[in-house]
Symmetry: C2
DNA sequence: ACAGTTAACTTGCAAATTGCAAGTTAAAAT
DNA sequence: ATTTTAACTTGCAATTTGCAAGTTAACTGT
């Protein structure tokens, strides 16, 4: 029941009310580009998110209808997080951030993603959106 | 001389090291869509950014080469902030955020921007990029 | 020339958020 | 029956944010 306050009616401001921090989009990145889906997998990423922050952000993302939480197929004590359609529609934001980051900052892009981006931005967006939908 | 620490070599993470907060992209929004360019104009926006936060973010944006600061044409005590090419390349991120926000959240879009978006995402991006470049 | 105003910050401090380490709980594996 | 795995929760110090007030320099009007 995490509810956020809306600072204004501006769509950019309202988007940032949910996504505007250093961690939320990294969790979604892990889901979209690395196919991650569990709490433990998110903890393993290079940026080393703290456990309390991760739990907090997952709860917000779920309450905002961006991801769903379900018991995993193999274990009852394990949960699987997946993107909703609202979450799949964040893929364009992620791809746009990749393009800006690679153009202006010293970064290392995953070879697979780099190859996808050769085929153009829109093609890459569609590919990762389709991939995320298939995992539903 | 604000220097940020880079959490990883991932382009999304590195982009968020600079842009990942609730205020930075709102300042850029004001420059791109409202044509704002001064400290006083940024303070007037609906979200009511605090003066110290605004000064801090402007300094970071300048040190990161996203905006430039110059004495205004009319007054010596007034400064004009403008986008660099690195800043102009943030327009796609802003437009993508507008599209997601309008699709999934209760927001009100500026009529002018809405009209531009009718012509397609890419056309809107190009228009606002051109507009920002012209102000140089 | 002087007094008030405008513009851009800066400072101090309380409140909120983040980050780290350790602890808890339940289910699964050994 | 004991250990391990997975997902959190808790406590607390450190950092960041938000608010109000203060400062500085340049302009504006009289």
């Amino acid at each position: 029941m995490k509810e956020l306050k809306q600072r204004s009616t501006c769509p950019i401001s309202t988007s940032l009310d949910v996504l505007g921090d250093k961690w939320t989009l990294l969790i979604l990145r892990d889901m979209v580009f690395a196919g991650k889906s569990t709490y433990g997998q998110f903890l393993q990423s290079a940026e080393k998110i703290a456990t309390n922050i991760l739990a907090d952000r997952l709860a917000i993302l779920e309450s905002q209808g961006i991801i769903t939480k379900a018991v995993a197929a193999d274990k009852k004590s394990k949960f699987t997080y997946r993107l909703t359609e609202k979450g799949v529609d964040i893929v364009p934001i992620l791809v746009t951030l990749v393009l800006w980051g690679t153009k202006y900052c010293p970064t290392v892009v995953d070879p697979g993603l780099l190859e996808e981006l050769q085929g153009g931005k829109d093609a890459a967006i569609e590919k990762y959106q389709r991939l995320a939908r298939e995992k539903q």
